[in-house]
Amino acid sequence: MLEIGKHTFNSRLFTGTGKFSSNQAMHDAIKASGSELVTVALRRVDMNNSEDDLLAHLDIPGLSILPNTSGVRDAKEAVFSAQLAREALGTNLVKVEIHPDPRYLLPDGEETLKATRELAKDGFTILPYIQADPVLCKKLEDAGTAAVMPLGSPIGSNQGLNTKDFIKIIIEQSNVPVVVDAGIGAPSHAAEAMEMGADAVLVNTAIAVAGDPVKMAQAFKIGVEAGRMAMKAKLGRKSNQANATSPLTSFLND
């Protein structure tokens, strides 16, 4: 069981709501994924409307909503919109997502750290979207984050774990759950992250724009489970070294 703050999850596949061809297609895929946490961009929902169509389609048993602040450019805006989300959606979970750069949507570590400090004091359970930066992860822990969400590669790029070396260090050092977010383009990428010891992955684009989103969601579910199982079963050491024909230490036996 995965614990983030006071929340627990059986499924280690987190999902997103963007880029689907319809709210119904989104609903079907998320249901098929078995996901228990789905992130929703605040800018996409009408917080004054209790019958918002997107939210209505996320009424799935066992599924919690993780509002994200995508669209804000600094800590001040992130804090303000997190507070609005808590009021409107009745959850203390928030994915802090601050990208002042609208082109590659890369996260601003400095502002994320500031926002995390403030929101932690205010009782939020924070999942910050960040660069795969091990030092920043430790600082976020000190600031009171509930998890860290380093990126595998740029959002929506489907390129997989280009930041693998840094994610390994983050996993090794972390005292909070590590969720690999962004860039996961195939179930094999998700499995790889889980094999490395990530606590969960967040997948959106790869499911939403697949030819058959429901089937792809199922494939990701299996991929995440397989990766987790393999990690627990302890993978064999990788070796591609040949045995030297003339041993270097045989003199010790002489």
Partner: protein
Amino acid sequence: MSFYNLIKEYSREEVKKEIYNKTPGDVENALVNAGSGDMNDFMALLSPAASNYIEKMAQISRELTLKRYGKTIQLYIPLYLSNECTNGCVYCGFNHRNKINRKTLSEKEIKEETDKIKEMGFEHILLVTGEHPKKAGFEYLQKAIENLSEKFSLVSMEVQPLDTKEYKKLEKSGLNSVYIYQETYHEKNYPRYHPTGKKTNYKYRLETPDRIGEAEIHKAGLGVLLGLEDWRVDSFFTGLHVKYLQKKYWKTNYSISFPRLRPFEGSYKPNYEISDKELVQLITAYRIFDENLELALSTRESAHFRDHVLPLGITTMSAGSRTEPGGYNKPHKELEQFEVADERTPREIRETIQKMNYEAVWKNWDEAFLCKDS
């Protein structure tokens, strides 16, 4: 250095020659390098040589667009606040010499129009005026934006160029995006199309996106009026302009629009007509040049063309547009800025988008992000 200085380093004739000399091999290279943002590749994609690669370009463009934007199309509606204008732009229905009834909406009329627009389901609104500083100047716009940002999730405008301080103030009032079209980057011929009024000032218009960037407006929309000059050359300079802006004002998002002059009877005749096939080439060339750009297509284009182009790279569309002030309550065709070719209702457009297995997105912003109360 402003863009005016940068563009001075280019000879329009040389650029034209380079574009027209591109070979099929250059086009194939550009396709392999899709997303590179390379100006030389962009030239190849705009070139006559690329006309044999339209299907391939459409395929790549569609894939890149799906990756970034998914199966979604954002919808917005224009609100024409005023058709009064002191400019004499030869191609425009609002030209001050045209003997049409002039109208600037009062606060009450704006409310009536936007009540109607809200009923249609819109959350994104684009405010449009001619250029008449006395009747629809900065204060008038500021008041309208203040009121409408309470009512809509996202307010944009397409009006006369303003100065940096004014943009900053409007941003505080709730303005999200500014669309400003250069019309043409042909400095020598620009006065021919803009003979009178403030718009005669080529340099001030050209540097407007710099001022928008300085004011940290969230989005700037660029484009040329397709048909005035050679679209290949003008589009090259638009691409150069976007690249310059992206590097300098990196917090602003950029969007390209494709207003096309059509040879309608009684209207301004384009000097360089651009065909449907060429417009598809242009749209997909932009996408392959930069996979993150927003690409917008208005109701100037027909329903048939818009439906077919939608999956090829477009991210944003208007729907149900009236291009005359007050037109949502009392249509007056003779007051229009241009003739709307896609006359479907927003509901019909939404249904078509759904049938194509795309989601019509009405809301993709929240006024709350601007922290106006804090």
